[in-house]
């Protein structure tokens, strides 16, 4: 380990960085006050909101100085990170980074740069954003640390496998693929066995070799417990949104979910969600909702349209439409019960990472939506038909028809994209949302 890097990491990434981010937090708190003034349809956000930005940014800040201090792995959002965490890896999630670019609305020049290099505009916009960032060196995170290892898990889509092949070629470093067979029905023994073997025989040796550390069972158990605790807390927070009025909307959740995606397995993440839970509970007890007036409650299906978050949040809030839950945010909590700490860790990890909603059939997603409608007392559903995410979007036309015809739930299909503004028509979206609200009597 390089001493100079170590000093930089601790001094700049932790001490000075912390001070800087705290100042930024104060500025953020002032902005929030403006956003939630007297004429705003929103109640004041959770106190923890401004800290969330500080917390997530601190991860990226540390990342700027982590090279040479800790081994770095770039991983997909559904990768079994507990093993890597237990080996001391610092993790970067290119998908989250792309989402960050989208939310900050800096993604389009990056997308254009990737397309200029020959990447088709029919490729996922997260990929184009991230590859564009690699090409240009531009990122709202300041700088991303170069990876020593790449880990791609196919449980969210096949796209990530190809994406990581590109990264492998770019960085000339080892890539471990964890292939998770798609679950059309119930999980079968040979599927669990297959994933477990890949964890034990592919991921572990590669990660141990790159990190120079040997996995300690106690450390893995500790990380897994922290991961489970954070996931359970997140689920508990989301379930409180079934209350009327809902203490949070999905637009809050899309921001608050960052740590559960990219920092699960850390103690700070458990502390973060514990504090959030306390605040959310207090709001529920006081009957304070995210919106001042909640007329109807609607489910959101699929990823957010990152570059339209604020506009959509305001548009819905002004009409008294609360979106208290989404299949996407819920997906990061619903696996908590599967995290059985009494079983072999690798088997538990294999089962959990085979089970995300995106690795299961369209019927499973329909059932999830129907259950959410019932449990969260919802009046309608908006299905974001996301051009960039085929596994999430295919099946939505039938799901919508069944929701309307068989379950009597108003449902809207909204064509857009998670990051690519060129695939979003402002006018068309406005018309469709208006018509949908009319059918719900708003």
């Amino acid at each position: 380990m390089n001493i100079a890097n170590l000093v930089k990491y601790h001094f700049l990434g932790k001490i000075l960085g912390k001070i800087f981010l705290r100042i930024e937090r104060k500025k953020g708190e002032k902005k929030i006050k403006k956003f939630t003034g007297k004429n705003s349809p929103f109640n004041p956000p959770l106190k923890i909101t401004a800290y969330t930005k500080e917390f997530v940014s601190s991860h990226y800040l540390k990342g700027r100085y982590v090279e040479g201090v800790k081994p770095v792995a770039w991983v997909t959002s559904g990768a079994p990170v507990e093993i890597l965490k237990a080996l001391g890896f610092f993790l970067i999630y290119p998908e989250n980074h792309a989402a960050l670019c989208g939310a900050r609305k800096v993604q389009m020049p990056l997308i254009e740069a990737a397309e200029k290099e020959g990447l088709s505009n029919n490729v996922c916009s997260y990929v184009r954003t991230d590859i564009g960032s690699l090409i240009t060196g531009e990122t709202p995170a300041g700088k991303l640390p170069k990876p020593d290892l790449l880990v791609a898990c196919s449980n969210i889509c096949q796209t990530v496998l190809h994406w990581y092949r590109m990264l492998e070629k770019h960085f000339h470093i080892p890539l471990v693929i964890i292939d998770t067979p798609f679950i059309y029905g119930e999980i079968e023994e040979h599927q669990v066995d297959y994933v477990k073997k890949q964890l034990e025989n592919e991921l572990l040796p590669a990660a141990e070799k790159v990190s120079g550390n040997l996995l300690k069972e106690r450390e893995l158990a500790k990380v897994l417990k922290l991961s489970k605790d954070a996931t359970e807390l997140w689920l508990e927070i989301l379930n409180l949104c079934s209350e009327t009025p809902s203490p949070l909307t999905i637009f809050d959740q899309f921001v608050f979910m960052a740590p559960i995606v990219e920092m699960r397995g850390d103690k700070e993440t458990v502390d973060f969600y514990s504090a959030m839970l306390k605040e959310v509970k207090s709001r529920v007890n006081r009957g304070m909702g995210a919106l001042k007036k909640e007329r109807k409650r609607v489910l959101w299906d699929n990823l957010p349209i990152w570059f339209k978050m604020r506009e959509l949040a305001t548009k819905f809030a002004e009409r008294g439409i609360c979106l208290p839950i989404s299949t996407y945010t819920y997906a990061w909590g619903e696996l908590a019960p599967l995290m059985d700490l009494n079983k072999n860790e690798f088997e538990t990890i294999a089962k959990v990472y085979l089970s995300p909603i995106l690795n299961k059939g369209t019927g499973h997603k329909l059932n999830t939506m129907v259950n959410l409608v019932k449990n969260f007392k919802l009046d309608g559903i908006i299905l974001h038909s996301d051009r960039s995410c085929k596994p999430y979007s295919i099946g939505q036309l039938d799901q919508r028809n069944k929701l309307v015809k068989e379950h009597g739930i108003p449902a809207l299909l909204l064509e857009a994209d998670q990051n690519d503004m060129n695939s979003f028509s402002e006018e068309q979206a406005a018309i469709r949302i208006e018509s949908f609200l009319e059918t719900m009597g708003v």
């Binding site: 020959g118 092949r165 590109m166 592919e202």
Partner: protein, 360 residues
């Protein structure tokens, strides 16, 4: 040569008491189906359909192959089949398989799936063997048959022979005095003929078209999923070029090596897992690059046409790297987006013409 068409083949097979499985693209244990007296008939569309029916179920950003398959099913094109097998090839076919199973209740057709891993490691091999065994059990339960190892090995050998014949035909492409359209029309009979029939007709083909004077047109490598619309071949030949290297999913990417082992499941698994480099299997850029370079060298090809079905994401990823490195090695390339339900656009035709002119 009088080769029976798909419908004729299906009807004849059924008349003799066999069952038929429509199989979507594209890696699957063919011999296993044959051992159950099931004729696999591959569905690569069919092309040139008006996909109004599928548009009620799939978004417009899903590729035309998947649209066509669903459209064909919804318009009763599959009414004479007993099973539909959906290998897990990509996110879109995964979605289609799920739609079939979850939402399209059909008492006459049984939907089956098959997952071929993306890797070539020992765990992948072991899993594939188990996945084939699982399919065996499902078919045994559906048909009431339990073919023994001897029967399975017999069909494995038949399929291996058919693959080696296909390999030979592709390797010797320049020695057949026939245009690309006719050549590929014949190769594609393998999508529905039994292995035995394909081998028999291949012999006839060879006897009829083999020439002493090899074709000396400019060679090109054709890469992509499926060469639809097939007019592409006429256009290539009209411009004094010939497809001398095949990196297509319908053909070249399925030149499986012979498997080995005492278990038929392991033998089939080995054959499938160690298929040639393939975008759909998530192979590395380097692996695919070496394959293309080798095809270009063996076929004396000067250029590569990436003939991509629009929205086929796995194909797109590799292109920036592959094209750059091919160019560095002196091999030009072009990317064409196609829709299997549409004719080649005038713009595409012009682009191909200009590209081929630059090579000759």
């Amino acid at each position: 040569m009088k080769i029976p068409g798909r419908i004729e083949t299906i009807l004849k097979f059924k008349e003799k008491g066999g069952k038929v499985a429509a199989v979507t693209p594209y890696h699957y244990p063919k011999a296993l189906l044959r051992a159950f007296n099931i004729l696999p008939v591959e569905l690569w569309g069919p092309p040139k359909q008006n996909t109004m029916a599928s548009k009620g179920h799939l978004q417009t950003y899903v590729c035309s192959v998947v649209h066509s398959i669903l459209n064909y099913y919804l318009t009763d094109g599959l009414k004479s089949v007993d099973y539909v097998l959906v290998p897990h090839t990509c996110d879109s076919l995964q979605g289609l398989g799920s739609l079939f199973i979850d939402f399209f209740n059909n008492v006459n057709i049984r939907f089956l799936t098959f997952y071929l891993p993306r890797g070539r490691r020992s765990a992948d091999l072991e899993f594939t063997a188990k996945e084939i065994e699982k399919l065996y059990k499902e078919l045994a339960s559906l048909t009431g048959k339990s073919p023994d190892f001897e029967e399975l090995f017999l069909h494995i050998e038949n399929e291996e022979k058919a693959v080696s014949v296909l390999k030979k035909l592709l390797r010797n492409r320049r020695q057949y005095n026939v245009n690309d359209y006719a050549f590929y029309k014949f190769l594609r009979t393998k999508e529905y003929l039994s292995a035995e029939d394909f081998v028999k007709f291949a012999e006839e083909f060879e006897n009829k078209f083999k020439t002493e004077k090899p074709l000396n047109e400019t060679g090109i490598v054709l890469s992509g999923l499926v060469p639809e619309p097939m007019e592409i071949f006429r256009l290539i030949n009209q411009n004094n070029a010939v497809v001398s290297g095949d990196d297509l999913s319908i053909t070249g990417r399925r030149l499986y090596p012979k498997g080995e082992g005492n278990s038929p499941f392991v033998r089939m698994a080995k054959s499938l897992v160690f298929s040639p480099p393939d975008s759909m299997r998530g192979d590395s850029v380097e692996f695919r690059l070496q394959r293309l370079l080798s095809l270009a060298k063996k076929g004396n090809a000067k250029g590569v046409i990436f003939f991509i079905v629009k929205f086929c994401e796995p194909e797109y990823f590799y292109l920036p790297f592959l094209r750059k490195e091919l160019k560095e090695k002196g091999i030009e390339s072009i990317v064409l987006d196609t829709d299997i339900n549409e004719n080649l656009s005038q713009q595409t035709i012009t682009r191909i013409e200009v590209f081929l002119e630059t090579l000759t």
